[in-house]
């Protein structure tokens, strides 16, 4: 699993399922609005569970290992998984290998995976646009630290 790369993480308590992230992502990547091409995808389970899901930059990523055509490669620098559109034929093995549902077929069909907007100044556009601040660019360790601080805050509150 990932313990050093940054990725975009959703706070399910804050996510309202508005899909602004999908609109912003498709605009960034394709200069058009098209949630069906977004690299972050929102799931709503009725009546009201919402979550935006995308790549968590796993180490030794199972999707890369699963690809029979070697279309997927992972950057050792930032963990981003790059898709070679010429090699990818949309077979979907990587989709199955990903436990987070973070890989989607864009309608071409080749797969699309979050690249943290690595060429964009200011980082991932979805984080910037999320109206609920439900998305953050963080690491597994960052999440862990946050969870610990929250736990202690709760304790402190209870002790008062």
């Amino acid at each position: 699993m990932n313990n050093k790369y940054k990725f975009v993480s959703v706070d399910i308590g804050k996510c309202v399922g508005c899909r602004v992230c999908e609109y912003a992502c498709s605009m960034e990547k394709f200069k058009a609005f098209n949630p069906a091409k977004s690299r972050i995808r929102v799931v709503r389970l009725y009546p009201h569970t919402n979550a935006a899901l995308n790549c968590r930059m796993c180490q030794d990523a199972p999707c890369v290992i699963a690809c029979p055509r070697k279309a997927l490669t992972q950057s050792q620098e930032n963990g981003v998984i790059h898709v070679d559109d010429k090699l990818c034929d949309g077979c979907g093995w990587c989709v199955k290998a990903c436990e987070f549902g973070a890989i989607a077929l864009d309608p071409k069909p080749t797969v699309c995976i979050c690249d943290l907007c690595e060429k964009r100044e200011g980082g991932p556009t979805c984080v910037e646009w999320c109206p609920e601040k439900a998305l953050e660019l963080t690491t597994t360790d960052g999440l862990s630290q946050k969870a610990r601080i929250e736990a202690v805050e709760k304790l402190a509150e209870a002790m008062e």
Binding site: V20, A24, F30, A32, P35, A36, P47, P131
Partner: protein
Amino acid sequence: MNAYTGKILYIDLTCGSCKTGFYDEAMAGDYIGGTGFGVKMLIDHLKPGLDAFDPGNPLIYVSGATTGTIVPCTASKFGVFAKSPATGLLGEAYSTGQWGAELRAAGYDVLVITGKAPKPVYLFIDDGTVQIRSARKLWGKSTWEAEQAIRDELGDQNIRVSGIGRAGENLNRLACIINDRFRAAGRTGLGAVMGSKNLKAVALRGTQDVSVADPEGLMAFCRDLFERAKGPATAKYRTLGTPANMLTMSAQGALPTRNYREAEFEKVENVSGERLNEQFITKIQGCSACPCRCEHIAKAREGRFKGAVSRMEYEPMMAFGPYCGVDDMNAIIKAIESCNIYGVDAIGAGIVVGFAMECYERGLITKEDAGGLELNFGNGEAMVEMVRKMSEREDIGDILAEGVMRAAEKIGGGAAHFAMHIKGLELTGYDIRGLKTAALGYAVSRRGGDHQRHGSYGWDLSGKVDRFKAEPGRGALVMGDEDMYAVIDSMIICKFTRTIWQGYEDIAKVYSLVTGIPMEADQLRLCGERMSNLARLFNIREGMTRRDDELLPARIHEDPIPGGAAKGSVVTPEDMAILLDGYYAARGWDNQGVPTDEKLDELGLGAYASIAEGVRA
């Protein structure tokens, strides 16, 4: 064109044929989308004088100008139009959620559905292809079950469905069309038109790009609009939501209570937005591309209705709360859930049940008529059961399913005096006896008893005018509101965010950034006026006259509000004459409410002048 697909899908269910039509930039610039497209398509495609359930009545879906873009809060919006089975006039309703964005991504801006399928069917529009599929297994199912069954059948859980429940199948004149579980094209009985066509649902899958003329310019302006949409202008909708109105409307003596017998509710604390949010709301979520999120989801916590889930707004809470004398929040949540499941307008249905309760207490409906229910004001369980009976047309529900206007005629015994509707459409949550500007807005609303075509209660409740006084100048206020709302409903902008827009300037700017069609504020205002006039012509063509504008429910004219802040208020026929004369004059119409030739020429509606000429004295 940018954003606009330029495509209209015509479907004839009688013979199962489909064809694609096209519209041009001139149509887009003159009619914008939403309201403009809906009214224009309906007046051009409906043979005058047809019954609403005639197969020739077209059921029309339209997207807005900015549907499918990140412009707040417009992405998911769509409108539905047909001749209304409730009013016999313009049938019009809007919805949101996810469906609208999917329509445009599927390749169309307008669907025109005519004819009647020999057997129940549903439509599946899949990226520009169309299938008419059997709904044999779906007929009889609830809206929620049907959505899931369609997704399962098509093997895609992202399919968006807009469809009817039992009420629409049974031609209940209050039937609505439900999408994304909690969203409805609610008013004017359009679900019954769908049912009359043996059409269960329209399912969509769209994966096409929605391009815009100036992506950088648009994203920069939208950043600003997003900030405004998270600011004080929308705070009410993001916190308590519209249920915040419950306490304020009661205090203002404007909360319709027990079928308009009163205008304040003694148990309003029990059904307040504050209590709702504290004890029942489990999540506030958002529609597609919405920076505000307002969808307050509530769960019933205890008693018979424990576990019921519904989206809460002031209007349905008013209708199933104070209007029926009910203060049990669990019953209110269940009644609204039932409306979503059976597919019936949650405002109208509550007004009908309140009407039935008054009939029951006056002995005009017996316990036997009601299938054994004790239909007294305040009986929440009976109220919930009546929603089902109306949808299934069971017992007295069969008559109530016709709406209060027709039900009062059948029940007789003076019931028409307290059948609270205008032109056949049940009233909404503002007691207009003490809100004279709103009274005018309701009286002339093109879809009948309705606050959503004008929002003119704002003038009265904010104290900007004397709410108890009828003056000719209110006409210009209502006209301004109507034309602005027509533009808002054409873009289609969520009304909860209407105040983040600084007038026509901002809207025109976004319109141009998205579509690339040059648009100025004045031009856009004129578009709104054009739509209002074209809708008026549609209603005139269907037989509406000044008399229909004048005639409010007898209780509004004759029964003064008995207590509270608006004690003693009525709207007299003299009030109505003053208000209507002022309104018609502001509009440039004659004193019978018919647009003049000059006005029609000014608006580029000369082609429709024969409608006005036909009725001019």
